[in-house]
Symmetry: C2
Subunit: 334 residues, 2 copies
């Protein structure tokens, strides 16, 4: 049992502090919140009393006064994937423009933890929550009970009862495959990240659609986790199978890092032996060597749309789709 | 003004919900907190009343009951640097072992924002805060007023009034320089990230010390931001100056990504033309090509030490130093 517990259990009130310091409760607020200057002696007495009693201001009281907590929450599957880190950063920037701060927590790709995080954030009096769920259909039951709006971010298809924002994955995949085809590659494989649930990922569906439209046979598919290690292992399997295609669409920049490493390690050259178009448009694409040609997700636009949705007056749920665009590096052969 | 404001301003209490639903306040708590099953009809009435009144459970009340908020806060300079992302992840893991969740916020390397984040987290009833400050001596005045312990994490030298945890940068730099010297390189330069304040960074001091001990003249110094772009520009300047040394100690894996890109782009080979030992031991070292030899910070150990310090009974401030170790990749010539 930590010493924190005992202090929290006997939490002092503003009145307790005022009584001990011999000042009015209003003066305590002035000192604690820094909202008004008071005499040096009175301030000293308040600080002594606060320290002695272990007093903490109550955020609910401030929230009631302001009519808002000025704080939004965000839950992402992981802090260590630069894609979500960058998305969280863009959400911070977009929220700051409206005077809101964002606190983040990570579900570690666990549905149970995700649910727990949502409940904790809701209980912590945030004004709303951005959820990058680890699954297609997250468990949002009874969260309405907290009266807190939730916007699904990085959501592919939308869920019926909530606002959501996601990138057009199909269109993004078309851009990638068409660019590889324009280079004259007639064998276009895919390294695809694993997604939760049964639905086919839009990147894979878009790859297949484009090949059909271009009358090209689908190249090999290698699957793995959406991580550098996942891409590395998927590419090693392709190499061992002897069926390395002339070109590859890789479903995330994180996977592409591993694909590049496995390819170069095997003595193959990019783009001379294997051309690559990646997906995300993250800093990983810009600082790989060769630099990655990649389908860039407009993260700032997604963040703005999500903040808009969260702070809008009550409305029917909307699924907002944003468009990706191609950023040309060296990995495709350009 | 958002619609959230009006609902918050007229916040309903548990009694209001109980009255409207025609149940006791205890039954409201059972339903809202999921702590006990009640009849389906009563649950339905409570949920209706909660939705109608926009009721939110009060986290302070729960914290009082438990004697702890079960929640810790963490402030880092940026979410987009994988080093801090990984450190935050390790803190989450270490805190979860003790039953605590962690909420994060990012100061965007601004002292003003950092201070604001600390106040917001303190007001949000966390039990303690991990601070990776953007400066050597952060502004912690009056935060004691909230009675919340703060542990400085990733702190180089400790500050007098707080617990702190940091890696032994001097020793880490010795490992890097000695390893390059063992390869027989007699010209060892440094690519050094910029730090706030006047104090010399331990990595630079350690590099200089080691060279002196080995009776080697210091190689060239190139400075830049602690980012891939910072490393890229620093290395481009070295290349343009024509003074590229045979080997380089680079002060972070993030910088090394940029150093690698600039080097390979200029047609130089790593390690044949320029050997590199990096610092951090992040995933960036493992998934660069060539892989980076790097001085690894023991992030899990740092996180454990920080959680220990934060949850310990009151004690005199301690600066805990952890030791780095060398992880061998291909960039050094091994």
């Amino acid at each position: 049992m930590s010493p924190l517990s005992s202090s929290a259990a006997s939490r002092a009130t503003r009145s307790d502090v005022a009584k001990l310091a011999g000042v009015s409760p209003a003066v305590v607020s002035y000192v604690v919140n820094g909202t008004k200057r008071v005499g040096a002696e009175a301030e000293e007495r308040v600080r002594d009393a606060v320290a002695k009693l272990g007093y903490r201001a109550n955020p609910s009281a401030r929230a009631l006064r302001l009519g808002s907590t000025e704080m939004l929450g965000m839950v992402t599957p992981t802090t260590t994937n630069p894609y979500f880190a960058q998305l969280a950063h863009e959400v911070e920037v977009a929220a700051a423009k409206r005077g809101f701060m964002v606190i983040n927590s990570s579900s570690d790709s666990s549905v149970v933890t995700e649910r727990n995080q949502l409940e904790q954030l809701a209980g912590r009096l945030v004004d709303g929550i951005f959820l990058c769920s680890t699954v297609f259909e997250p468990d949002l039951r009874n969260l309405d009970i907290a009266g807190i709006p939730i916007v699904m971010l990085n959501n592919r298809a939308g869920i019926p009862s909530r606002d959501s924002v996601g990138v057009d994955l199909l269109h993004g995949a078309h851009l990638a495959v068409e660019h590889l085809a324009e280079h004259g590659y007639d064998e276009i494989g895919i390294v695809m990240g694993g997604t939760a649930g049964d639905a086919e990922d839009g990147r894979e569906a878009g790859w297949r659609e484009s090949l059909e439209r271009l009358s090209l046979a689908p190249g090999p598919i290698a699957r793995g986790l959406f991580t550098p290690g996942g891409g590395y292992q998927a590419m090693q399997r392709l190499i061992r199978s002897g069926a390395v295609p002339r070109s590859l669409f890789v479903s995330s920049d994180q996977m592409s890092r591993g694909v590049l490493k496995a390819t170069l390690e095997a003595g193959l050259k990019v783009p001379e032996d294997v051309a690559i178009v990646s997906f995300d448009g993250s800093i990983d694409a810009a600082y790989s060597w060769p630099t990655l040609t990649t389908v860039a997700q407009p993260l700032a636009e997604m963040a703005e749309a999500a903040v808009d949705a969260l702070l809008s007056p009550p409305h029917d749920p909307v699924h907002r789709v944003v468009e990706a665009h191609l950023v040309v590096g060296r990995s495709c052969g350009c």
